[in-house]
């Protein structure tokens, strides 16, 4: 038990590394920088890490079943909350740094730009999952908790779609995300089939 909590602290710190590196780059420490277009770079990197953490969270269950290491599921909540944390920062840096909290411009973006519409939908759908991630809420919701948290599959699809829809031509990166997500979701579909049929 003790080694597990020590391990949890370690994973927690690891999850903060991307934010730490971004902070150093913003501060311009040790020759690090966000480049010529720091706002765009910051928004992209926060979004990418949010999506990475979302996919890592989704990889826990397949990994656990594959390796038989049951303690892996102890990290699911933390990883999922880090996904939410990075995606919230992603949105706040867009709203604050890119749009200067110009509400009219943000609303216009949400209405007129489908990739922003689906990105924001994914983030909004993550809020109830983050709020019900505590042990108490799990107990209180019982069976419904599981149902509610299946939303994460939809959220991940929207997130990857959001990435795909904004690249100009070079779809290599979104295609990598799509492939990873397809494997993670496909695995669950197969598993479900086996149980049902």
């Amino acid at each position: 038990m003790k080694t597990l909590s020590a391990f949890k602290v370690l994973v927690f710190l690891l999850c903060l590394l991307p934010l730490g590196k971004l902070s150093l780059e913003i501060a311009g420490v040790a020759g690090l920088s966000l480049g010529a277009n720091p706002i765009e770079e910051l928004i992209h990197r926060l979004g990418k890490w949010g999506l990475n953490f979302l996919l890592i969270t989704l990889a826990i269950t397949p990994l656990r079943k594959w390796t038989g290491l049951s303690w892996l599921s102890r990290f699911r909540r933390m990883l999922g909350l880090f996904a939410f944390f990075y995606l919230l920062l992603h949105f706040l840096s867009y709203a604050g740094l890119d749009q200067h909290f110009d509400l009219a411009a943000i609303i216009e973006d949400i209405v007129k730009r489908p990739y922003i519409t689906i990105g924001l939908s994914a983030l909004i759908l993550l809020i109830p999952l983050a709020l019900t991630s505590t042990r108490g809420m799990m107990r209180r919701l019982g069976r419904r908790w599981k149902k509610l948290h299946r939303l994460v599959y939809l959220i991940a699809i929207l997130g990857v779609w959001h990435v795909y829809w904004q690249v100009k031509l070079d779809t290599l990166e979104p295609v990598i995300y799509i492939t990873i997500l397809a494997v993670l979701l496909g695995y669950r579909l197969l598993l479900n089939r086996r149980f049902c049929g």
Partner: protein, 315 residues
């Protein structure tokens, strides 16, 4: 037309940047004494770049130019990769000397022209232009170039020449980005003959008083300041005068998103993002976007070229 009046602020800025640059290079031991020609930085940042003799040209903006670093490390040149810092990292493999441009089509003097023969007869002009990318970021760049009409007149285009078609080098060995078919290679761009013959249009050979670094499209590139940046085809090896409108690379790959004209227009959005405002590079983390100007602020000079044209349809 804006009058050109004596020394402007950018000349001073550019000078001080020059000196800073030299100091930096000297301090880091990259050059011994004078002469930038020998300066070599990793990734071809300034590899092979040499000073040019220039005079101040007309049409320059008073806005503060972006730094040499910004201009040479953040741009699109898909022949070297699709990330903004890819050109700067990968363009060292491009060989720009010797360089030949093939001129063909509806003109009386077609042929293969050496770079030196094209450039030598001309006085090189410093022109500080606004540069607006279709991705909604912008810069101010002190280009060095030859007015395109002066250059094209050498080839004596005839009355059938309605368009000019430009082509970039195709050589995946020198241009590793061409190994992936992101765009249809080689890159092709085009202008109407009136656009090409407009005095704002430049055949650029340098930036900041020096020859172009490879990543910026050495040794010859097009700059049309009232159009989105992707019209500014780089590392040109062919110029053809045509009767029919050329099919351009971006138009071929995504015709709904990128048109032949590609004039900067805040009222006509890209299907996926707004063109009403732009992010000026260099403002840091807390600068607001600024409004995009019709024809990138060159409406007085070029508006008449498009009189009667539906700019919503002809984007």
């Amino acid at each position: 037309m804006r009058k050109h009046n004596g020394i402007r602020s950018w000349e001073i800025t550019s000078e001080s940047n020059f000196l800073k640059r030299r100091d930096f290079l000297r301090e880091t031991g990259l050059i011994a004494g004078a002469g930038l020609a020998a300066a070599v930085l990793p990734g071809g940042l300034t590899a092979g770049v040499r000073d040019l003799e220039t005079v101040a040209g007309p049409y320059s903006t008073d806005e503060k130019p972006n730094s040499w670093e910004e201009v040479t490390t953040y741009n699109n040149f898909y022949e070297f990769g699709t990330a903004k810092d890819d050109p700067q990292r990968n363009a060292h493999s491009l060989v720009t000397s010797p360089w030949t441009v093939k001129v063909s089509g509806e003109c009386d003097k077609p042929g293969d022209y050496h770079y030196e023969d094209l450039v030598r007869p001309h006085v090189l002009e410093d022109r500080v232009y606004r540069h607006r990318c279709v991705e909604a970021w912008s810069m101010v760049v002190p280009w060095v170039g030859i007015p395109m009409p002066d250059l094209l007149k050498h080839f004596a285009p005839n009355s059938n020449a309605k368009y000019v078609r430009f082509k970039t080098l195709y050589d995946p060995k020198q241009m590793p980005g061409q190994r992936r078919s992101v765009l249809k290679w080689p890159y092709v761009e085009g202008l109407t003959i009136a656009e090409a013959m407009h005095p704002l249009t430049l055949m650029v050979v340098g930036v900041y008083g020096r020859t172009l670094p490879n990543q910026n499209g050495a040794p010859l590139r097009l700059i049309v300041p009232w159009k989105y940046g992707f019209k500014g085809i780089k590392s040109i090896v062919e110029i053809e005068f045509t009767r029919r409108r050329p099919r351009t690379s971006w138009e071929l790959s995504a015709p709904r998103e990128y048109g032949f004209y590609a004039n900067v227009n805040p009222e006509v959005d890209h299907p996926r993002w707004s063109q009403a405002r732009e992010r000026r590079i260099g403002g840091g983390l807390f600068a607001a976007k600024q409004p995009t100007l019709m024809f990138n602020g060159y409406a007085d000079e070029v508006g008449e070229l498009y009189a009667g044209l539906d700019l919503r349809k002809n984007y």
